[in-house]
Symmetry: C2
Subunit: 211 residues, 2 copies
């Protein structure tokens, strides 16, 4: 991609001082989440940053590259986490690995909340979005298999469908993007502990009444 | 609002046969969810319906009226449900009422999935959206109070924050709008049972390991 400007790029060296790809990406993700990816133009981004469009193109090749970088930011750590949890190791049960991956996924989501928010809104409108959906499906499948393994080893109840349990469990984790605020009443550890306690141990203190 | 047309409205009587406010609303909500409310024009809606704009204005006064009708569709039944559950009655515990409201909210969400999807995406960009957010906050507050009551009566564990439990519980319910398909593998009753079983009774069959 060209820098889109008549000025020779060599004259601006690394763009305007204080701006780098990381800063531009962070602002882009915030803007995509606020206005919607499709409705956001590189002109909007330039305005938000107080930069010219050529200055932005000094750091990134396209709006789609920004989307791709953001989705990778969300997906790479989740993929590493789920890959590790899917790996059977001597001395760890599927149940322990599942409980760990649920707790850690809360931490990853909070640490990458803007990019995960963007990821969860992707609908497959372009090859980049389709690739991200493909990676999400892989994660969903691995997590459902882990739930099924934990049922098989006898650690989890077998009167509920494992694939549905997986959907609900990670639906609960994902719901954090809608309301969690890092400066709010609950720290990450409290959210992770409350969520895993509810899902695995249940809220009820006594035998529940008939549904 | 005017009908926006040179033709006298009397000549079209109740609009084009087969179209009424209900049909127009259903299509509008589907379009708002697909394209985003702000990005959808009444022209887009007319095109989708194969109607002229004046024919639509015969049935509804504005795009905002359609939004308002859709949000009321989502909120009215949830409000009735939560109001009933918040009402202390002889012979019912807060725990039973909470468990009931969780199960029923799954059913309401599935029955009104398009309008609840729209509701959950509202960000407060207009007085109509702000009013809907206000009603959502009222629901959240009542549900958090119900969780707190169930803890107080000793039915729910007291080592997790009730307001956070309420967020996670209904975050899990709300996550259904993202993936539930009425023609999919699970009927509403199975989803409602699985969700309440997980949340209240827990997935684990044995004492959990230390977190």
């Amino acid at each position: 991609m060209s820098t889109g400007s008549g000025e020779p790029p060599v004259r601006r060296r690394r763009g305007r001082p204080g701006y780098d790809q990381e800063t531009i990406l962070r602002t882009a993700v915030e803007l995509f989440n606020r206005k919607g990816y499709d409705a956001t133009s590189m002109g909007d981004l330039a305005k938000e940053l107080g930069l010219t469009k050529p200055a932005i193109y000094h750091h990134v090749t396209s709006k789609e590259q920004l989307l791709s970088l953001a989705l990778d930011d969300a997906l790479d750590e989740l993929t590493a986490l789920v890959t590790e949890a899917s790996h059977e190791r001597a001395g760890t049960s599927a149940y322990e690995r599942l409980r760990h991956v649920v707790r850690r996924s809360v931490e990853v989501l909070v640490a990458h909340q803007p990019s995960v928010t963007l990821l969860l809104r992707v609908r497959g409108n372009s090859p980049v979005e389709q690739a991200a959906l493909e990676r999400r499906r892989w994660l969903d499948d691995r997590l459902a298999a882990l739930v099924a393994d934990a049922v098989k080893e006898g650690a989890l109840r077998d009167d509920v469908p494992p694939a549905l349990v997986s959907r609900l469990l990670f639906g609960m984790v994902n719901s954090l993007v809608e309301w969690y605020r890092a400066d709010g009443a609950y720290d990450t550890a409290t959210v992770a502990r409350t969520l895993t306690t509810m899902a695995f141990d249940g809220l009820a203190r006594h035998e529940p009444p008939a549904p």
